[in-house]
Amino acid sequence: MNRAEILVIDDELPIRKLLEITLQSNDYFVRLAATAKEGLLMVANHPPDIVILDLGLPDGDGHVVLKKMREWYVKPVMILSVQSSEEDIVTALDNGANDYLVKPFRPGELLARIRSLLRTKVDSDENVAIISNTELQIDLSSRIVKRNNEILKLTPTEYSLLILFVKNEGKVLTHHHILREIWGPGYMSESQYLRVFIAQLRKKIEKDPNRPKLIHTESGVGYRFAFNE
């Protein structure tokens, strides 16, 4: 198996060091960049499998870097940012970032997210008909969802919500994004629908809806689906 290649763009040496050791010891191939310019050049010359991008770079706004990168780079981008900048995170996700982590973060969390992002995506492969883990089984052609081999009765909205999550596994979906995709552009501020259906869906698919392992809450930002974390 090919070792996945990860490019870290962060100006803080201690963070680069921490990420290098964490990722290398988990068998990833790591490349490091300390500036926006250097990072963009490395992405262009040799696109990595994942980019880990810090939003606060000395020589360029992280959002601009992300936008430039997204002009040609299609693989996952994970954002690292300092605490309490929910607006920043939502902007980055709207600009094409797949996931984000807030500093200080736990390396274990980072690794789990990277594994999630590296997994093959269903939406790119039309032939995949059944997706499953040890508990949950989703048959996309017959629209049947089973939990521990028992058929779940999902309402049409609950089913579309679940499929949206499954197709974007590992990716943080913002509240606006989900509302637009499921209910349409007119419902983008109707977050109460989202709360109700997330709670209903969790009750049906999660083992413990109060300690969810599939649909994770990203505080102030949105939700993230993790199938095999």
Binding site: Q83, S84, E86, P104, T155, P156, T157, S191, Q192, Y193, L194, R195, V196, F197, I198, A199, Q200, N210, R211, T217, S219, G220
Partner: protein, 360 residues
Amino acid sequence: MSFFLFSKIPKSFQYLYSIIIVCFVAVICHFSLSFLDYRIIALILLLAVSIIASMFNIFPVLLAAALSALIWDYFFIPPYFHFRIASTEDIVLILTYFVIALVNGILTYRIRKYEKELVLKEEKANTIKLYNTLLNSLSHELRTPIATILGASDNILSRNKKLNDNQKSELISEISKASLRLNHQVENLLNMSRLESGIIKTHNDWYDITEVIYGVVNQFEDNKIEQKIVVKIDPQLPLFKLDKGMLEQILYNLINNASRYTPSNSLIRIDANSKSDILILTVEDNGFGFPPDEIKAVFDKFYRLKNTKIGGTGLGLSIIKGYAEAMGGRVVLQNAETHGARFTITIPAETSYLNNLKNE
């Protein structure tokens, strides 16, 4: 301190009020001219000027003094309706009147200025005292984890071979705990400065309170705290439109406090229910509770219990109060029947029952 209130009236209004008061008194005096000697009226006008001096700044007072002298001369000293003064006695009288009014005004003004300075000095002294308390508790709260991190990591680096695996992992776990504590304190300081700046605004949106509560509780359970958390939420609880970040901070600080100040294996109970558009959250523990005479003070910034040995900045509870009030709600502390502490947070907010969506 009532003069301060008056001296906050805008300058132009102070002039206006001075004129109105002097004229008003003069009109009343005019009607009493039949039974009062005009010299007595000078005293009454002087009284009015003194009252003005006790309320307003120096220039409106000078205006009142000058105006009242002129009015007295024009309307009350014979010949009436003339500035001309017939007798030498009256000339002496009006000059004396003017000087007394002036001195009166200046003296009262000086006293007020002096009092103002005293209050400012006192405030400054209080700020310095507060600042020292903050520095003391902060340096303790920040230095303890830093000392742990430095000491433990230095141990691992320089005595690596002499330490067995068990000792090493213990040191590393200490580093991890100290970092979490440091992180929490920095978070508290940032929150406090946000509240202090006064520009804090609530970002309200619809939230499932169950999700918010468990989001915070799960953080503590992931960090394996030594107490047991029991959550009881009314299953009929509606959605609330409120600031989730603030609610999370309130809950986090309350649970953090309970876990810090109660013995291991204590019970932390979290209840959530609602009563006519008011969210009621209680966080209760079965620890030692609070000394009844200090319950009122614990929400003050930097306040620390008198007999406490455990560190702390005295910021946690004041942040809870600040956020609860920013959301239009309040927080009440009582000692529970179990003698532990019970915090009750009430937040009025818009609610929504979307029960008709079940089949969509």
